[in-house]
Amino acid sequence: MSASTTREKWDAAARGFDFANSRGPEQRWAPVKRELYSAMAGKVLFLAVGTGLDIRSFPSGQDIVSIDISPRMLEKAAPRAAAYDGRMEPREMDVQDLDFPDGSFDQVYTACTFCSVPDPVKGLRELRRVLKPGGELRMFEHTGSRWFPFNALLHMMNPITRKFGPEVIRDTVGNVEKAGFQGVQVRNLYLDVVRTIFAVSPAK
């Protein structure tokens, strides 16, 4: 799937995104996200910001560049970004081709992002590139499961979910390792499907 196809898919999803996600999914995971984001420090890259639902969970006073591939999503995120009590710079960008110099960020945060990046290892390598040596990658992601019957179920659902939004069988932990990150730590939040992943960009 090309970047333009991904952009079109999420542009189409932008209209109903808040209706579908702002209650159940966001409220359910808001405490975990607040805890994850509470470690924000230094120059932070956040992706994919979507309609900005996560912004209310950010600690105030941070210096954050938030990117998304979808201009429609960013239009919806604009008021939330403007209301953030800190420095927030939303930008339209593809994680597979980041327009930042090497070593630009101290931390990168992702929230349900790498289910939708067409080439996740390429995207993660870009994140490693823009992180300073020793910089942190902190992710809130859903992945495939190793365990029956959940793995079989997710494989059955995937052909449908990938048409409208995310893939549900990604090995994001393995992809983080393939991209060259070190010190990978994983915490399962729901089964082995919803997880936080922590990793460090290696010293050069």
Partner: protein, 123 residues
Amino acid sequence: METRPYFLFGDLLSSALAGCSVGTAAALITQPGWPMALVMPLGMLLGMIVAAPLQIVCSIFFGAFEVMIPMMLAGMVAGMVVPMKALSIPLSAMDGAIWGGGIGIAVLTFTYIANTLLAGDAK
């Protein structure tokens, strides 16, 4: 482990609803004398088809994977078990709903146990 009453109620309602809906549909559709080898996979397919739109509605209010996985599983299991039962004894729509609802709650219990075993530091 989820402890907030709103989401616990939502999980229970969602799984029971998926099981009840699939159980009712399966009891109404299944006819005595149908071949068992056909009824099982078709029932599972019916379970997926009936549970899918319910998942979309319930996930808006109660969560994403935490709602969708038990609902889809409840739909598939109810879609297999209720028609099998209906082959041996005639089932009314209410019978199907009760069986399906029970299966939905049993599936939710299974996922809660699995979640307790899997949640936490994994690496």
